[in-house]
Symmetry: C2
Amino acid sequence: MFRTAELGRAVPKEDYHEQVPLLRAELLEIQQRLRMEAAFPVIVVFGGVDGAGKSETINLLHEWMDTRWLMTRAYGEPSDEMRDRPEYWRFWRDLPPAGRIGLFLSCWYSRPMLERVYERSSEADLDEALDRVFTFEKALADDGALIVKFWMHLGKKAQKERLEALQKDPLTRWRVTETDWNHWHLYDRFIGAAERLITRTSTGHAPWHIVEGFDKRYRSLTVGITLRNAIVRHFEEMRLRRDLAAARDGRCILGTDEEGAEPSPADAVPAETRIGGTVLRMPRITILSRLDTTLSVSKSDYKRTLEKYQGKLNRRCRRAKELGVSTILVFEGWDAAGKGGAVRRVTAALDARDFQVIPVASPTDEEQAHHYLWRFWRQLSRAGRVTIFDRSWYGRVLVERVEGFASEQEWRRAYAEINDFEDQLVGHGIVLCKFWLHITKDEQLKRFKAREKIAYKRWKLTDEDWRNRERWDQYEAAVNDMVERTSTSIAPWTLVEANDKRFARIKVLKTIRDAVEAGIARTGEPYVAADKTGKPSLESTA
Amino acid sequence: MFRTAELGRAVPKEDYHEQVPLLRAELLEIQQRLRMEAAFPVIVVFGGVDGAGKSETINLLHEWMDTRWLMTRAYGEPSDEMRDRPEYWRFWRDLPPAGRIGLFLSCWYSRPMLERVYERSSEADLDEALDRVFTFEKALADDGALIVKFWMHLGKKAQKERLEALQKDPLTRWRVTETDWNHWHLYDRFIGAAERLITRTSTGHAPWHIVEGFDKRYRSLTVGITLRNAIVRHFEEMRLRRDLAAARDGRCILGTDEEGAEPSPADAVPAETRIGGTVLRMPRITILSRLDTTLSVSKSDYKRTLEKYQGKLNRRCRRAKELGVSTILVFEGWDAAGKGGAVRRVTAALDARDFQVIPVASPTDEEQAHHYLWRFWRQLSRAGRVTIFDRSWYGRVLVERVEGFASEQEWRRAYAEINDFEDQLVGHGIVLCKFWLHITKDEQLKRFKAREKIAYKRWKLTDEDWRNRERWDQYEAAVNDMVERTSTSIAPWTLVEANDKRFARIKVLKTIRDAVEAGIARTGEPYVAADKTGKPSLESTA
């Protein structure tokens, strides 16, 4: 979930200084309009990792905007006055009225997070607290409030480097406290809880925007532009709501009112934001652009390594079958990235009775008459089997999104639906691996051309492949969003550098082996089965 | 929550036989239309108390409708096949395709309920399971499915009588098993869990309809008519959605899409349903009509009793103050029902420093610029005080609903918002009492006329009072809905028979005394404080 916020995005100094005046003027104007129309309040929430620039950004917004119409609230330990009343009293009290912007730091997310990180509460407690947050934000949003939430992120290593740098400088040493280092040591736990928090509370009505906090200029512009865009869009949305209410002409039919299905429209800040006649530009970097596509395995190593991993995989899958641990493999990737080849290297290691490959093409009539996940639910195999999806439910947020087969609302809400689906799979003890096979655009062209030449491969290349290729950038953005929204700690994406097919296949096999091994470990059973004589039936150091 | 489903509603035999043929013809026609258009699937869920007619109703629907296009599914212990897969696999597998109706008995609600009732799971576990249900139903509804849920209810006494009657008859004795009696003994626990279940899963997209199961004819017609209306409405809603999508003209602005805020549109079955040229009629009985307004207290008893209870209340409130237990009293009722008089009898028992009366009139400008609950949140007092609301947040679902000051969506979602608000109050240890003072329409007229005559009371009678009186039936329906949706086990409504003012005042005082006593008990501290000499400072048998 946070991997897309560790790409080291930065904005050069001169770009920054060129863009800020424009953004400031725009923000001031918007603030003015908010105040005059007083149509809705704006609630801005800042959360995230220490040192990712939460308070710096709030200070900067005060510098940029008219501070008289900004309210900033931060919460520490509750006072006597607060303890006398229900927890949310303090938040209700501080809500901005229509026309004002409230900036909230360490607010309703703070206590649930900290209690979980310090292990003073269980996961169920965290969920319950997040339910309350959900209800609170929903009530406000239903009433017309605009809620914008920024999650400022910094990688573990970057955070450490930051602390060390501060400590080295005598002028900034005071800023590093013991608590800071304590927090750093709890980083992984914090991120685990944060992932849950974001999954559960990033809703259509109150989305989280994950902001890479590494570069000050990048994060400042990102927050400023995102906030600006959200307010502009909300003005438009409120107008639209009024128009629709009129269009409905009293035909208020309740119960199915296009409910806020779609999860967070928390897109990465757009590469271009048009303000009047000028354009604000932000670096467009996706997670795919950070992959090292030069990685390769030599031909001589390949055969040996392949056989080794296939053997390991075979033994692990046999044991998994005995224990009733199922495996589901998802293969997605660019056309001609080598999905088929990788799948064959996996199945070669398995017994044909124990696996099934599901090629996913257009849905059948019957499938079309159901929810789009229905066709995948029905393919779930019995315990202990391996099911391989060659393309999958991710079609919803890839091809269906890009080609417009799914409406924006449909593909947006699919992220949450998919996370829930996979949560059920993993919760049932199923081993789930998801692969995106990545090749560069040049490599794809080379492979397309090769296919045209080789007779027995020509069928694999269709006009559609060429059309898809034209939309490379759109697909790349969709992949980035997909990884951001659906790469969770329980079901992470494995991005496979696949310019070199051999490298890709080995990486896939290794990943599956590790995952199946971990799945066996979760059962609490030994990895090696004892045969009837009581002796291990498989070598123990496979 | 279930009190409005224990009113003994029944349909006379001749009415039933007159209406059924009409309803059947209509249901068959709708089924045909569903099948031809195949626009969406219909998912009907049956839950509720044993013996309230769940399976009888399903059988009847099969009799009434074309059974070839109905799918019925009931779930017992999971099979091997099911256990091999995540729990929801079996439900996904059984979903009806677009154009079909699926009837589900003991489905996704069954396991969470039973585990909670048998105390094999905690409340947090139940909530987590209900979150999953929510997500599941939401995904289906977002995809266009119509979900209609019937909760068949039978009071504890009625259920016992039913079992005894079955047992007496040699022909039906076999139908009563030990499990039935076990369930009956767990009735209260079952109802507690059911209340939580309904509160958490009665949503705009999948509302629960609470059906009084006492009379077979009443419940059958109720289910039939409700199902018919829901399908007709859904056809219209789907058409509207298409129109709106067109009207939006690509202006798909995301994030705040009139999210399914409003809770269950699960109105009681309407008194009249128009089908073509004919009308189906159902008895219109509200919970208010069942109150005994002849209850009274004689003048001679009154003074003594009043003083006794005022004394008791005074002592309890003093102790509550010591312990920091706050009390919130809500007074609602018909105009001239005697709210002011009742409030004065309460405040007479309290120390002026410890209570505050909040008369609720139109909101101020500042209040208007916030969420409607904001003005009540800000009135929460410090620990140990008594806050009395003369009219309250319930205005949203009473006067604002009836007079049209709040839109239908606004007042509908207010039920859930109010339940959440009160949950936070009670969760914080606050004692909450809610009173509806009920007088008959005749009694009100008498009091209005009296007010006209007495000079010092004339100011109390306004034109608005006369206007409200004209909308008596609408207000009565609103009160019935309010009690159904917001009378929860943690924050029940007390309906006060107030034709006799003396009776009403005593009932109010008694109720508050009991509630404060219970609030003190929850702190775990003794009811009686020890003074410095270690002796009780208040009499112990107050």
